[in-house]
């Protein structure tokens, strides 16, 4: 077993966890650079929440070496807890306390001096657009407001690393976008984010690195672009004004496929700039005039399907 180098926000090697004879995590390695957004992407039941629960000290792994914020998680969980904040899948707020009381509770538990705590709480409520609802019970909040309160409570302690377990699941598109903007602001301020999601769009938009978790194993890891390049399906589509152009171009690109009705030619390629430049140069050399050009790259949905054999948001049963 290799050791986890320090200096990373999160490093885990050989993470294993079973419930009964069901292996939930089956040898998972995770590395998250400081100040980045790392996304664990996977369908329901893939083990995402279990991974977050282990990395955030909530449950113990059966095996594996874990360092979070420079501390050995098994040896010094309290030190890890001082550096992290967790916002769970199911909003962990106290519904018998008002929004503001929930925030002040976090301030007390973080041992902030009373006045500093009050100031910080007021600022966060303002920033998360919860000031008007501060005196009300979270029971009366919308889903988006509850998640914002949940995250605001996490931020009272000013954590360096934040775990967000499916922060936008079940939210309407507008609330989702608000949440994304908040996450982007946090990273801009230097916070490390560990994000789990079953939404490809979310990982695509937010994450610096994405690990695809399926059946307790990481089946692929890289930036969104790297993942997309892993699989075939990218192509350049050329549209011509008249049939002559299509004929000429078809001879230039052997292996391409033509559609005489729509006057389009599909040229396979990985969608990188060099490939595109090569296509344009070949067209120039043959003096073909192109009416329109589109580059299609496989989206994460294609990647996910290719890697796991099922799509990300359906097939819940398959992955269990």
């Amino acid at each position: 077993m290799t050791t986890v180098p320090s200096g990373q926000a999160i490093g885990a090697r050989g993470l294993r966890k079973s419930y009964g004879d069901k292996k939930v995590l089956d040898g998972v390695d995770i590395t998250v650079a400081e100040g980045s957004i790392f996304s664990l992407l996977g369908p329901n039941g893939a083990g995402k929440t279990t991974a977050v629960q282990i990395l955030s000290t909530l449950i113990r792994a059966d095996a594996g070496e874990i360092r979070v914020a420079g501390h050995d998680l098994a040896r010094d969980p309290q030190a890890v807890r001082r550096a992290i904040g967790v916002t769970g899948q199911f909003s962990a707020v106290d519904s018998l306390l008002s929004g503001e009381e929930n925030m002040l509770l976090m301030s007390d538990l973080n041992h902030l001096p009373r006045r500093d705590g009050r100031r910080r709480v007021a600022a966060l409520l303002e920033r998360f657009e919860l000031a008007d609802a501060a005196k009300k019970s979270p029971v009366t909040y919308s889903g988006g407001m509850r998640r914002r309160l949940d995250l605001a409570m996490t931020l009272v302690g000013d954590p360096r690393i934040i775990f967000l377990d499916e922060p936008t699941t079940g939210l309407d598109p507008r609330s989702r976008r608000t949440m994304w903007e908040i996450i982007e602001e946090l990273v801009a301020a230097g916070t490390t984010i560990f994000l789990t999601t079953q939404y490809l769009e979310e990982a695509d938009r937010l994450a610096d690195r994405i690990a695809v978790l399926d059946g307790g194993r990481i089946v692929a890891e890289g930036s969104s672009d790297e993942l997309k390049r892993l699989i075939p399906g990218g192509h350049v589509r050329l549209t011509f004004a008249e049939l002559g152009g299509l004929d000429k171009a078809f001879t230039v690109f052997p292996g391409s496929s033509r559609d005489d009705e729509t006057l389009t030619l599909t040229v396979p390629g990985d969608g990188r700039v060099e490939t595109l430049r090569h296509v344009l140069a070949a067209l120039d050399a043959a003096a073909v005039t192109v009416d329109d050009l589109t580059v299609h790259r496989p989206d994460l949905d294609d990647v996910f399907f290719a890697l796991t054999g099922h799509s990300a948001t359906t097939d819940k049963e398959d992955s269990r």
Partner: protein, 259 residues
């Protein structure tokens, strides 16, 4: 240091919960008083003479009844503790607490101390109303101290048991069910009736279940009736149940939460 600060914070949270759950808190406080009034004014006429005759004519029914009601109030208090712990565990906020750098036991300490304070208020209420309707304890200061000490031991035992129930069952309904024995076993004890006046099987059970020596000891301390070896049994039961409840609650709380 931080353990005390965190426990205080949790106690404050627990207190706010009692205020927000006003209906439940109030019914918890009033139930024992209502039970007492019911037994005195509805059943007292029938049971009272038998009790009086059994004790050689010296003890009025309200005097006989009050120690039992006090023990019952402790049971009722522990039921609400079990429910509030179970509800709390479901809230998900406990998971948040577990990932924060706070004293591990502070959540439970807050519950135990909060519950103890609520039960003490309830006991004071019972004693106050009992005095109004004719309770005349014969106890001197030492006996009163002994009675208060025994009640405190009982609160400790029941609260820890209740916390363990709340941690294990994880639903309000389950917690209420689990704490049923603490609420209803007093009915089949010497609380309202002398066991030797009950039908033989039930009487045997009533004589040997833990509530009976506890109630008899309390009665002895408050009324000056003979205690016999009930005192040792009462203290033994309380200490045993406290230890059981504490160890059970601790192991349930330290276990990894279920998914």
């Amino acid at each position: 240091m931080s353990a005390i600060a965190d426990s205080t914070t949790m106690l404050r949270r627990n207190f706010t919960h009692s205020v927000r759950y006003a209906a439940m808190t109030l019914s918890g406080l009033l139930l024992p008083v209502l039970m007492m009034l019911m037994f005195v004014y509805i059943f007292g006429g029938a049971i009272g003479p038998a009790i009086s005759a059994g004790t050689g004519g010296g003890v009025s029914y309200i005097d006989y009844l009050t120690p039992g009601i006090l023990v019952m109030a402790v049971g009722a208090g522990s039921a609400s503790t079990a429910v509030s712990v179970a509800v709390d565990m479901k809230e998900g906020i406990i998971a948040r607490f577990r990932t924060m750098a706070i004293s591990r036991g502070s959540v439970i300490t807050g519950q135990v101390v909060g519950s103890t304070i609520r039960t003490l208020v309830s006991l004071a209420l019972v004693i106050g109303v009992a005095l109004l309707v004719g309770f005349r304890p014969a106890a001197g200061p030492v006996a009163w101290l002994g009675a208060i000490g025994l009640l405190a031991l009982l609160i400790l035992a029941f609260t820890w048991l209740a916390v363990a129930f709340g941690l294990v069952v994880r639903s309000a309904e389950g917690a209420n069910m689990a704490s049923m024995p603490m609420q209803f076993l007093p009915l089949v004890s010497s609380a309202f009736m002398a066991p030797d006046l009950m039908s033989s099987g039930i009487g045997w059970f009533a004589a040997y279940q833990p509530f009976t020596p506890i109630i008899d000891t309390l009665r002895g301390l408050l009324l000056g009736t003979p205690i016999g070896n009930s005192g040792y049994l009462a203290v033994g039961w309380c200490l045993g149940l406290t230890l059981l409840g504490f160890l059970w609650a601790r192991s349930a709380f330290n276990r990894d939460p279920r998914r």
